[in-house]
């Protein structure tokens, strides 16, 4: 049996392990909730994570991986993790790499011939590509957040009013800035 066929056969097992590992990046109480709450509106993080991983694995197993589809399936889950401040960048976007260990573990002794090992290397290349894509999306999301911070409503309005000489405010310190960063 080819590597692809083997993977296809073990797909649901791989998906389950992957999902569990991603969910376990959250604190235990949260992980429990993400697993158990099935309502899509009460648990948008669990739902988006489940849907994204399912679609991404499907894409990986196709004869040709469609990079546009990969991006659109990655977006919801990366978009969420990009604003969850508990994660470092690698924790937020690195979850695709989990697949490498999972696949090696699931296939185990089936990886016994050179052909399969070669195919595995090629397959892992796809995982790398997908990971790169996840990091790109992560960066785009972070930029969007920084942009919003920079455009902060109050500053825009405040400055406009100030220029027009319309504001009489409680005086600030000389620079008008907070010491905080």
């Amino acid at each position: 049996m080819s590597l692809e066929k083997l993977l296809e056969k073990r797909k649901s097992e791989i998906l389950k392990k992957w999902y569990n590992q991603v969910v376990d990046t959250y604190p235990p109480e949260t992980a429990l909730f993400l697993r158990e709450q099935k309502d899509a509106f009460s648990n948008p993080v669990g739902k988006a994570t489940r849907d994204s991983l399912h679609a991404l694995l499907g894409e990986l197993l196709k004869p040709e991986m469609d990079s546009e589809a990969v991006r659109s399936h990655l977006d919801p889950v990366v978009r969420i993790r990009a604003v969850q401040a508990m994660f470092t960048p690698s924790q937020a976007a690195g979850f695709v790499y989990f697949l490498k260990d999972i696949i090696r573990e699931v296939l185990g002794r089936d990886l016994d011939n050179a052909d399969r090992l070669n195919r595995l290397l090629a397959f892992e290349r796809r995982i790398d590509d997908m990971s790169m894509s996840a990091f790109n999306i992560y960066m785009k999301c972070r930029e969007a957040v920084f942009q919003m911070k920079a455009n902060q409503e109050k500053n825009k309005i405040y400055k406009a009013f100030l220029r027009a000489g319309l504001v009489e405010e409680i005086p600030r310190d000389e620079t008008g800035n907070h010491k905080d960063a």
């Binding site: 590992q21 376990d24 990046t25 959250y26 604190p27 235990p28 109480e29 949260t30 909730f33 993400l34 709450q37 309502d39 899509a40 509106f41 009460s42 648990n43 948008p44 993080v45 988006a48 978009r79 969420i80 604003v83 969850q84 401040a85 508990m86 994660f87 470092t88 690698s90 924790q91 690195g94 979850f95 790499y97 989990f98 999301c141 969007a144 957040v145 919003m148 911070k149 920079a150 455009n151 902060q152 409503e153 109050k154 500053n155 309005i157 405040y158 009013f161 027009a164 319309l166 504001v167 009489e168 405010e169 409680i170 005086p171 600030r172 310190d173 907070h178 010491k179 905080d180 960063a181």
Partner: protein, 539 residues
């Protein structure tokens, strides 16, 4: 090659499975993006608050007053005597967990300390230690712990990750309202000078100048004059408002956000057009005030005294002008203060009349004591009695959904009036899923003074459950407009939508009404209030 890190070493950082420890043993980790800047001491001084000092949440040392523990203990004790509800909430939680997964901040951030039950435990653990025998004797076993600087930091961090939205209280079998616990906890923090600037400075401005941004009376008038010109360009009608008019029938008060921040400004134009219509058709005499120029009340997020101070200004102005009653604009927490607190704080407002709509004769029983009517109730009543000429087809480019703002919804019980108004002025309306609206509504993620720029990650995660439901109706029905009746929503949602559902724009209710409203003698309109071509008027 040998210098390169091994893949497991790189992945160690990635394979983050947090430790399984009790919540009390996980120290607080103050993360950038999740908190607002410390209050500007000048603002706190302007309000005469105690223990004002410079400090930074990220610093090890918060420059607390030497006897801070004593101040806190005393403050806690005083309030336990004063607020029966808080004492009850401290004692009766059975930790059943029904509230645990109902908070949008928990759902979005994934941080277990944002579970309402744990948020309340922050205070309860100290309460047990300081005020119960079991806690004193058994300590941690009884869920008690001593107040120290780390606990204080944890309080501060998580009490400012609660928008006081009350969603959790809907699910608690005992009706425990974690919002009240947060209000109480923030009041204690204020005793130590630990407010955030996004609250303290608007409060100081409001106290002194009458509104959050410190806009002076003439500037407030300048802004409305500017809207008059805009409206005249669009409709050909001059809607010149009245200011500070003694003896007017009704005083109108709205959050200043409607006057100075898009897209609230279009809602403000809507009010002006509605009042002009009612004046021309029915002789309704409405005045604006340049002194009570703020409906919002950030005092609500500070302390009971501050809330009372800011609320009293509206009634003082109503008294000064000698109006019959007050009509309130599309605000969130203004209505919570009016409905939940005003009567026992500054009420009853006996010098005003029980509100009756002079055009329809409807008596607003719910406002009998507060003498303040919500613009959506008022508009719904007018429509119900066929008093408005409306052309809903002018809103045909819109597929609208409605966000129940926490305060008018859970704090006031107003669910149907806004929907009735929208259905009357728009042909395409789609509600979001049942468990995300009405009394179950999800907060915008930026309520209770948290709509700053520096805490954008908190706002985006806290707003995720709401945005997720908007996304659903966008994908299912093509919804492209999110309507709401709250100025904080109107300030917060454009950011939230741009991150999660960029195809959806944000509007106030009265903007939709004004676009459909046919003013007597108006010219053929070509654009809506935003200057965009009306359906059928595109080039």
């Amino acid at each position: 090659m040998s210098d390169l890190p091994k893949s497991e070493e790189i992945l160690k950082d990635v394979e983050h499975a947090p430790p399984k420890k009790g919540w009390m043993n996980i120290p607080v980790d103050i993360r950038k993006g999740m908190y607002c800047y410390a209050a500007n001491p000048k603002s706190l001084n302007a309000l005469g608050f105690p223990n004002v000092h410079e400090w930074n949440p990220k610093d090890e040392d918060w420059n607390l007053p030497e006897n801070w523990q004593e101040i806190l203990h005393k403050g806690f004790k005083e309030r336990l005597d004063r607020f029966r509800s808080v004492k009850v909430f401290m004692d009766i939680c059975v930790r059943c967990g029904a509230c645990a997964d109902k908070c949008h901040y928990f759902i979005g951030t994934g941080d277990p300390k944002n579970m309402p039950v744990l948020r309340a435990e922050l205070l309860r653990s100290v309460y047990r230690n300081d005020f119960t025998l079991a806690g004193k004797l058994l300590g941690k076993i009884a869920g008690a712990r001593k107040m120290d600087e780390d606990v204080l930091k944890e309080w501060w961090y998580y009490l400012f990750q609660c928008s006081e939205c009350r969603r959790c209280s809907v699910f608690c079998p005992y009706g425990i309202d974690t919002a009240e616990i947060t209000i109480f906890g923030r009041e204690l923090l204020n005793l130590l000078g630990l407010n955030i600037d996004w609250i303290a400075t608007p409060v100081a401005n409001c106290y002194r100048t009458g509104n959050h941004l410190g806009i002076q009376p003439h500037a407030f008038k300048d802004m409305l004059d500017f809207f008059v010109e805009d409206i005249e360009d669009i409709t050909g009608i001059n809607v010149e408002p009245q200011f500070n008019k003694k003896g007017a029938d009704i005083l109108f008060i709205t959050p200043s956000g409607d006057v100075f921040a898009d897209p609230g400004t279009y809602t403000c134009m809507g009010y002006m057009m509605l009042f002009k219509y009612l004046k021309d058709k029915y002789g309704l005499d409405v005045t604006w005030s340049t002194y009570a120029s703020e409906g919002g009340n950030f005092g609500f997020f500070t302390s009971h005294e501050t809330m009372k101070r800011l609320n009293s200004k509206m009634y003082a102005e109503a008294k000064r002008l000698g109006v019959k009653w007050i009509l309130g604009g599309e605000c969130g927490h203004m209505w919570r203060v009016i409905n939940q607190y005003m009567d026992t704080m500054n009420g009853p407002a006996d010098f005003l009349e029980e509100p009756v709509n002079p055009i329809t004769g409807t008596r607003f029983e719910n406002a009998k004591s507060t003498k303040m009517v919500h613009i959506s109730e008022f508009t719904a009543d007018l429509i119900k009695h066929g008093k408005l000429d409306l052309d809903p087809s002018r809103n045909d480019d819109l597929k609208v959904t409605f966000h129940d703002s926490c305060n008018p919804a859970r704090g006031m019980g107003m669910f149907d009036e806004p929907r009735y108004v929208i259905r009357s002025v728009c042909n395409q309306f789609y509600d979001m899923p049942r468990n995300t609206i009405r009394e179950n509504t999800f907060c915008c993620g930026s309520g209770s003074g948290l709509n700053a720029g520096e805490d954008m990650e908190l706002r985006m995660t806290g707003g995720l459950p709401r945005a997720n439901a908007v996304k659903f109706v966008h994908e299912k029905h093509g919804v492209n407009m999110l309507a709401c009746v709250c100025a904080i929503d109107r300030a917060a949602f454009p950011d939230l939508m741009s991150y999660w559902v960029p195809e959806v724009d944000v509007t106030g209710l009265t903007e939709l009404v004004a676009n459909a409203l046919i003013l007597p003698g108006e010219k053929q309109r070509e654009t809506n209030l935003r200057g965009e071509p009306l359906p059928g008027m595109e080039e």
